[in-house]
């Protein structure tokens, strides 16, 4: 072989996309600015304009043998404390946080509104061939789709002509093979789409009448998963071929061969159904070969099974049994609760908040009041976690106190400093909390109720001069 056989491509690659902006709204009297002007305009200007900055994205690609690890470099407590610090300083600058997570940002003052998303879009992808990895630093491209010609989808009409068809879709964590037996292909080729017949076919759970989804699944972060697969049609004599079968051909129409390491999963996607569809062996023959990591080839032939002398095919199982799925869900929930047991209390309180029974309503309201009291005195919630002013505001709003903004502010600024010790942390927090609550409030009675409820105000209003 020539020297080309000694080239080895790098087994890992990453592609990043920075944050991109979009101009959503602008003042109709002002012409849209050029980009350079727009930067200055959106950052420090009084024009009416709404700019949205999309979150940056990072695509990480790896070939087999590369170990990937993702974690947060901050501990949970540190992250909570930094979030609380940030919300405090932002609020002190006079900007409102986005309480409901809407894309439109509320502003106070003459600042130009711009909203940004800062949660990184992270995509981890594992490709089995190192030559298929995108060039590092190039433009991000979507996962390539399967070869349409081999799948028989040369034209849209061919795809749904009523003959058996298959489609191989590369996924970030493996491959997905969609197989259409003749009946299912015929249903999909009919216009209008017979949804009732399709639903009946799927519910019948018979492999010769329903679309099948086979899945080869790897763990994108694991360095020990590796596989090679080859799928093909079968001709009338049962030999593998790339030509799609004709109408009226009987027997199994597809073959799937997989050479894999033990940790790779292969099976049928069944959702929550416990067993595979009936008569699966009449639709697809499956050959499975488990080998050590270094023995997995990069490509295998169509007739790999004949080359290996395999006479008996393997049985296709559901990819993940219902019990496994439920166990995985329960295990992740148990791990989260073990990590932070206070999540369980959170969950129970949330559920109790929806119960319409008066005892539950009184109990949750009392807990909310106690939460505000705990925040005012210690800065933490009753379970001991650092609480941000956003959360305190949401708790206060959840109590649905109808409070007038102006009245509450006057109460807060005029009365509370004379009652509480000025400069103390509790006074600061309460002042801040009441002032913040004033932004979402409506009537006067509630303001007094709030102040009386906390024992802050005692009539008469004639307070001593400071």
């Amino acid at each position: 072989m020539s020297g080309l056989a000694t080239l080895v491509p790098p087994p890992m690659s990453w592609v990043a996309r920075p944050s991109e902006y979009e101009l959503l709204m602008r003042d109709a009297d002002v012409p849209p600015p050029r980009f350079i002007d727009h930067i200055a305009v959106s950052l420090a200007s009084e024009d009416i304009e709404l700019t949205s900055w999309r979150a940056p994205a990072l695509h990480v690609y790896a070939a087999p043998g590369v170990a990937l690890a993702v974690d947060c470099p901050l501990a949970r407590d540190e992250l909570e404390d930094m979030r609380a610090l940030y919300t405090d300083t932002v609020w002190n600058l006079g900007a409102l946080p986005d309480l409901v997570g809407d894309r439109l940002a509320l502003v106070r003052g003459d600042e130009s509104p711009a909203c940004s998303e800062q949660a990184l879009e992270l995509h981890l992808e594992r490709r089995q061939d190192a030559w298929e990895l995108p060039l590092q630093g190039s433009r991000p491209r979507p996962t390539p789709r399967g070869d349409a010609a081999i799948g028989g989808f040369a034209t849209a009409h061919d795809a749904w002509a009523g003959c058996p068809r298959g489609l191989d879709l590369p996924m970030p964590d493996g491959n997905e093979l969609m197989l259409l037996p003749p009946e299912a292909a015929g249903l999909l080729a009919s216009a209008p789409l017979p949804l009732d017949a399709l639903q009946a076919a799927v519910q019948g759970w018979h492999a010769e009448r329903m679309p099948l989804t086979l899945r080869i699944k790897v763990d994108p972060k694991s360095a020990d998963d590796r596989y090679a697969h080859c799928w093909s049609y079968l001709d009338a004599d049962g030999r593998p071929t790339t030509t799609p079968p004709e109408e009226g051909q009987r027997g199994p129409w597809f073959r799937l061969t997989v050479v894999r390491t033990a940790s790779v999963q292969v099976g049928i996607e069944t959702g929550l159904v416990l067993k595979a569809p009936a008569a699966i062996e009449n639709v697809v023959t499956f050959y499975d070969h488990v080998v050590p990591f270094d023995n997995v080839p990069s490509h295998i032939d169509l007739d790999h099974a004949e080359q290996q002398g395999r006479s008996r095919s393997d049985v296709l199982q559901p990819l993940q049994s219902t019990l496994q799925r439920l166990t995985a869900i329960a295990a992740s929930a148990a791990a989260a609760v073990h990590d932070d047991p206070r999540l369980l209390a959170d969950g129970l309180l949330t559920v109790a908040g929806f119960v319409p029974h008066p005892i539950a309503e009184v109990a949750t309201s009392a807990y909310d009041l106690y939460t505000l009291y705990a925040y005012a005195t210690t800065g933490r919630d009753p379970l001991g976690r650092t609480m941000t002013r956003t959360e305190a505001m949401l708790t206060f709003g959840g109590l649905l106190l109808p409070v007038s903004g102006a009245a509450l502010r006057s109460v807060a600024r005029g009365v509370l400093p004379r009652v509480l010790r000025p400069g103390g942390t509790a006074a600061t927090r309460l002042l801040a909390l009441v002032d913040d609550a004033a932004l979402c409030s409506e009537s006067t009675a509630g303001a007094l109720m709030f102040a009386y409820g906390f024992g802050l105000l005692t009539p008469p209003p004639a307070a001593p001069k400071p």
Binding site: M1, P9, P10, P11, M12, W14, P18, S19, F35, I39, A55, P56, V60, A63, P64, G65, V66, A67, L68, V70, D71, C72, P73, L74, E78, D81, M82, A84, L85, Y86, T89, V90, N92, L93, A95, P97, D98, G101, A105, V107, E111, S112, A114, C115, S116, E117, Q118, A119, A130, G137, F293, D294, S298, H299, Q307, G379, R380, M387, R389, T428
Partner: protein, 155 residues
């Protein structure tokens, strides 16, 4: 020219405002501890801010290095930063560490002057966390002999 150092800013400058809500015992300690932990990354990010090697044409992001260099920093306009360090020259055994800092965290760690803080919180504040992604070649992939000729190559 000397690289700007994060240590030049002291944590006490963070808390000049009298209405900062002192939940925790000493937030200045936490900020200093995080600055120490990420000192190398924050130095590189400051350098990318002040002396970028390149600037994006469309969205005005700032770059230090290029994606194939050992150190690459990319800061977009809202302030999010991606810091990539590659250790080792052999692509089969190199170790790549990508660290992502959302803008809100960088503003706390790098900008004690409160006037530099952004005017609005991000809309996905609860989900915007720093991330660290590590890639390393754990196993060498010795190519098993191909049973089918590679399309395109002439043997």
């Amino acid at each position: 020219m000397a690289r700007p150092s994060v240590g030049a800013h002291t944590a006490s400058q963070c808390f000049q405002s009298p209405t900062v809500n002192p939940h925790f015992s000493n937030p200045a300690d936490l900020v200093e501890a995080l600055r120490d932990r990420f000192r190398a990354e924050l130095d590189d990010i400051l350098l990318a801010r002040l002396q970028p090697d390149g600037v994006g044409m469309r969205h005005a992001e700032r770059y230090l290095g290029h994606p194939l260099s050992a150190l690459h920093v990319s800061i977009d306009l809202p302030g999010n930063a991606l810091h990539v360090r590659t250790e080792g020259t052999d692509p089969q055994t190199q170790r790549v560490t990508l660290t992502y800092f959302p803008a809100w965290l960088l503003h706390l760690l790098l900008d004690p002057d409160l006037a530099m803080l952004p005017k609005l919180m991000p809309v996905d504040f609860e989900r915007a966390v720093p991330l660290r992604i590590t890639m390393r070649g754990a196993r060498a992939t010795r190519e098993a002999p191909r049973t089918a000729p590679t399309p395109g190559l002439v043997s």
